[in-house]
Symmetry: C2
Subunit: 238 residues, 2 copies
DNA sequence: AATAATTGCGTTTATGCACCACATTCGCCC
DNA sequence: GGGCGAATGTGGTGCATAAACGCAATTATT
């Protein structure tokens, strides 16, 4: 008997800012099944492209978002996960900087919505992780898996930086970790740890427009130093 | 244009003993492409089964090995990874106990061979990871990925136990970790750590047939206690 | 009975983490 | 301008845990 399995790629894209916490990028479906339901951006895999290229293309056309980090998450293949028949979903997991969060994600097909407008027929949006609606297919489960991966991975790989602007105050990084790990972190020990690792580059600039209090120094992630440490077997751990 | 992507499942099955170190289960291909080359056990995904069920079935029919732990590893989808056309390989990652390593893996496929027969033209075997030949397709790369996963995972999840007999001396576990992490571990601290976690059950039995030296007490993994600790947020770390 | 090998348990030293104290630098208000 | 609130930068201390090391106990071998 001949094999008949179709393949889609899906993307769980996380964004973060200190006001809203963690958000996920969603698109509204325009065709059945699950028409008008929110879903993960994604679509059919093409016959000749690498899977990762497919995801990036779908993301670009469906949301116009430029991603900062992308890795494969998991392949979902339950026989009944799609009413149309047997579908594999190769899910990816991505991160964007806060600047991408501020701009409204918009399909490139339609002309741009004015920034900040909230129209009911919009087709892509950021949704806070705590406020996720019921999504199409098994997409809630996919996000759950991506969240678990994110929470585990930031503890031993420096991917948290990918969720912040390239220059950031340490307190921002700390708040990010507190949000994701759901536990308080000692400000001073956190700073001391990062300083002793030497994977931060201090800048002369200072944070502008702090709401109140002393403006913080800005830092950026020292990728060179990190890969050097990695080779020496010293690992990042929070 | 219509999508035409076929799907296979592949399994990287690891076995361990203190004499040979880590080994991988291989099967010899009997059809082109790569005919007579060694490859990972696997095959076409069926239309209506969950992927994991497919892998287990293929493993049973191709090698007769009973596996002890199985999880999804990664989906390989480079457009040129199979000369026959576009193929996705959903790779799984599994572990067996040493008893499975001692018995020669044998295909149960054809009715031509009686079940227990061990013919010289056998098509499945264990291969030490240091002695891997060039395999069919991208299977060397798949094993590389599985190895990385194994080495990382044993550090924070108790899957090392799945590579040992259900009752084992602590020194066996320690040697396993030394082999996989490729660094020496202090015997006494290792033992203390496991004892303080309380995830080992001590047995009255002692190791039989030690080559020399004092026979060691036998222990087994306390799954109940481990899942209890897990719920309390205390995690396993070596 | 001496020796080698390996296990089991204890002691000391170093490191990391929770917690405290205080100076510094900004905005804001009087 | 000076005091105040709020947040950042930097130093330090005590405790718990991990790393490093010592040594006796148990077995096979000779």
């Amino acid at each position: 008997m001949h094999q008949h399995i179709r393949v889609t790629v899906e993307a769980v894209i996380f964004g973060y800012n200190s006001r809203d916490g963690l958000s996920v990028l969603l698109v509204k479906r325009t065709i059945p099944p699950y028409i008008f339901k929110w879903a993960l951006p994604g679509g059919f895999a093409s016959n000749d492209e690498p899977l990762e290229v497919c995801v990036k293309r779908e993301l670009r056309t469906e949301t116009g978002i430029s991603i900062n980090y992308l890795e494969q998450l998991y392949t979902f293949g339950a026989p009944d996960r799609d009413p149309r028949g047997r579908f594999l979903a190769v899910a990816y997991f991505g991160l964007v900087r806060p600047t991408a969060l501020q701009t409204k994600p918009k399909p490139v097909i339609t002309s741009a919505f004015p920034l900040g407008s909230v129209s009911d027929d919009r087709e892509a949006r950021w949704c806070k992780i705590q406020e996720l609606p019921q999504l199409a297919f098994d997409h809630n489960m996919i996000i759950e898996k991506a969240l678990t991966r994110l929470r585990n991975k930031i503890r031993y790989e420096p991917i948290g930086f990918e969720l912040l602007d390239s220059k950031f105050p340490i307190s921002e990084l700390e708040k990010l970790y507190e949000t994701l790990l759901a536990r308080p972190i000692d400000r001073r020990n956190f700073q001391k740890k990062l300083n002793s690792l030497g994977i931060l580059i201090a800048h002369d600039e200072k944070q502008k427009a702090a709401l109140q209090g002393r403006p913080a120094k800005l830092f950026s992630f020292n990728e060179q130093e990190y890969s050097k440490l990695r080779e020496e077997g010293i690992l990042f751990e929070i």
